[in-house]
């Protein structure tokens, strides 16, 4: 019957049940008040209403199962990684170079950790100022039409497959030259830029208009308002957006295969050298393809380190944001 009548199912209710309160879960009105006629018999859902309530309950059950399933998958993945990585995790694992032959036991992922930190730090240094400036342009300067055009451009940039961005930076910085940590940083900065810009824009829109108006009324120039009022008010939200973008950038692998997959076996901090920088995502990727038991063990360890960083970063960002006055 709901198929035929959509949102107005009560119309076809049999006359006998029309006196019932139709709110689901409210048909049990508790103990019968003395002196009043006993309605409890007619208040028990029957026939069509019971069928509708069963359907409603079933749909609610399906929703709960779906939510539990998603959380279960998260728990299983995190548990699999941490349980398998725990056996190799140690101070040595974090501070030593990997063995030259993947099949050997022992060794660590120090060059990968340092390389990832350098690449992501450089990418953040590129993407964060640009992202904030773009967000400022969208909220403080752009008219209606340019703002929506630039927003579309950012959303399209955000939707590009990361491997395509890798191909672009390969053509831009690697062809005719060589791989470098810098090339990897540029690719990851392109991935982070729309995230930071769009999220910062949302935060800037939450800065109360009364603050801007107060500054305008005092005759304060726009740039002084931005520097002294808008940015300080939005600082927490901007940091949250950046940390979430860093968490996303740190796990990006596809561009690194093209841009930073050739490197030495020792710690390097130079993103402008004539080879790439070691990094955790590419290490996990090659180890997963090499099918060596000891390589697998180190890859689980590397995955634990990366996952721990990303989970801690997202949790901290969310907690900080929920405390900030500008959260919804």
């Amino acid at each position: 019957m709901t198929d035929a009548f959509g949102p107005l199912p009560a119309v076809t209710e049999p006359a006998g049940s029309a006196a019932q309160p139709m709110l689901d879960e409210q048909d049990n009105l508790g103990p019968v008040t003395p002196g009043l006629p006993d309605f409890s018999g007619s208040l028990t859902p029957s026939g069509n209403l019971r069928r509708r309530q069963l359907i409603s309950g079933f749909a609610g059950g399906v929703q709960t199962v779906a939510a539990v399933l998603a959380v279960a998958v998260l728990a299983i993945v995190v548990y699999s990684v941490v349980a398998r990585g725990a056996s190799v995790l140690s101070w040595h694992f974090l501070t030593q170079d990997p063995p030259l032959i993947a099949g050997e036991a022992g060794g660590g992922i120090a060059p990968e950790i340092v390389g990832t930190v350098v690449i992501v730090a450089l990418a953040t240094a590129i993407a964060m100022p640009l992202g904030i400036l773009i967000a400022l342009y969208l909220t403080e300067f752009a008219g209606r039409w340019p703002a929506s055009a630039f927003k579309l451009a950012l959303d399209l940039l955000n939707g590009l497959p990361s491997i395509v961005i890798g191909l672009f930076v390969f053509g831009l910085l690697v062809v005719g030259q060589h791989q470098s940590g810098f090339a990897a940083s540029v690719a990851i900065a392109i991935i982070m830029l729309p995230l930071i810009a769009r999220a910062t824009q949302e935060v800037l829109l939450l800065v109360p208009a009364s603050l801007r108006e107060a500054a305008d009324a005092l005759g304060v120039a726009r740039w002084r308002t931005v520097r002294g009022v808008v940015l300080p008010t939005a600082r927490g939200g901007i940091l949250t957006a950046t940390v979430l973008a860093v968490a996303r950038g740190a796990g990006e692998t596809a561009p690194l295969i093209l841009l930073s997959s050739l490197f030495g076996n020792t710690v390097s901090v130079n993103p402008f050298g004539n080879e790439g920088l070691a990094n955790i995502p590419y290490y996990i990727f090659t180890s997963s393809e090499s099918a060596e038991a000891n390589g697998f063990a180190r890859a689980w360890g590397a995955a634990s380190v990366l996952l721990a960083f990303i989970l801690v970063a997202s949790v901290v960002a969310r907690i900080a944001n929920s405390r900030s006055t500008l959260s919804r």
Binding site: T2, P7, L8, P9, A10, M22, D24, R52, Q53, A59, G60, V62, Q63, T64, A66, A67, A70, V71, L74, V77, L130, L133, I134, Y137, F150, A153, L156, L157, N158, G159, P161, S162, I163, V164, L167, L172, I190, A199, G219, V220, A221, W223, R224, T240, A241, L244, R248, G251, A254, I257, L258, F285, S288, W300, A303, L306, L307, I310, S314, N321
Partner: protein, 329 residues
């Protein structure tokens, strides 16, 4: 506010004009720098398209549009024949199955988070579902090879084969757990949190009065969702599905790890295959000839076009809503 901020009105004439000039210059500079940054992002989009097409030019002029349907991929020098046919097939199949599974799941989760769950449960489960999106694809793929693949091969695939084996889709189970089916399920895991978190926001924005009106007319909880909440936000959910599709089409790493890099087109989902993005990730580092690199760039051109199409479609369908995968919560 720092000490340099003064109010022009209360200063002597000389200083007043100095502040006014600084204000004017400062405003112009800030406006200019911000505009330049925004233009840079727009230029980057154009430059990406140009560079990728440029890198593919050799392959485009050699194979033309026939590349799209040609199923052979033999990179070694005596042959050097490249075609994306089987890769487009693999991309379409894995993305389609991923969406088929992910959209109902994600909409159910979103309904649970926005309508059914109590605020306390919501505030715990919601962030957990979003955390699922934060797991790097390389880790999900690694898990897909070593944990999920063997599970599929031993339990789920034999079960599906025994029950639905009369369909060619669920053919005999091979000895490894890698293949189209594994890739589709890993993509499902990646798409669900995206669609769920956008849909949840859409459902929360459905006007309260509409829902209360339906309740007052005697609708059950499910009838409110089916009759009011879902129809009001349907186009937004479709847009979210498009964004999820864009993600599934372009995912390279996790798919490379679990799909088995097969060249042939199989009817059975349990067999190996390959997708556009995963072929690039798989072969780029080991590419030997210029034509092979150019052909991999050609795959990138195809990805760029379908990725842009999916996102433009999402923005167009969802234009009544602010549909974006980027939000701070």
């Amino acid at each position: 506010m720092s000490g340099s901020t003064r109010f022009a009105g209360v200063l002597p004439g000389n200083a007043r004009s100095r502040v006014r000039r600084a204000d004017r210059i400062g405003d112009a500079v800030l406006h200019g720098v911000c505009l330049a940054a925004a233009l840079l992002a727009a230029v980057a989009l154009v430059a990406i398209a140009y560079k990728v097409i440029d890198g593919a030019s050799e392959s485009i002029s050699r194979f033309g549009l026939g590349f799209l349907s040609h199923p052979t991929w033999k990179p070694n020098p005596p042959f050097e024949i490249f075609g994306a046919g089987s890769l487009i097939f693999g991309t379409a199949v894995t993305s389609f199955i991923a969406l088929l599974l992910a959209v109902p799941l994600a909409v159910s989760i979103a309904l649970y988070l926005s309508m059914s769950a109590s605020p306390r449960v919501r505030s715990v489960i919601g962030p957990l579902v979003e955390t699922l999106a934060a797991i790097p694809s390389v880790i999900l793929g690694f898990w897909g090879i070593l944990v999920f693949g063997p599970f599929l091969q031993k339990h789920l695939e034999p079960f599906l084969h025994s029950v639905l084996g009369f369909l060619p889709l669920f053919g005999p189970v091979p000895t490894t757990g890698t293949g189209l089916f594994n890739a589709s399920l890993i993509l499902t895991i990646m798409v669900v949190p995206i669609v769920a978190s956008i849909s949840r926001d859409l459902f929360l924005s459905v006007p309260r009065e509409l829902q209360e009106g339906a309740v007052a007319l005697g609708a059950t909880r499910w009838e409110v969702l089916r009759g009011v909440v879902l129809p009001t936000s349907a186009s937004g959910v479709a847009a979210a599905a498009c964004l999820g599709l864009g993600r599934a089409l372009g995912e390279a790493i996790a798919v490379t790890q679990v799909i088995g890099a097969g060249n042939a087109i199989h009817a059975s989902l349990f067999q190996t295959g390959d997708t556009l993005a995963s072929r690039i990730a798989d072969q780029f580092a080991g590419a030997t000839t210029k034509l092979q690199i150019a052909s991999l760039f050609y795959l990138g051109v195809i990805l760029l076009v379908i990725g842009l199409l999916a996102n433009v479609t999402a923005q167009w369908i969802g234009r009544r809503f602010d549909v974006s995968t980027v939000t701070v919560r």
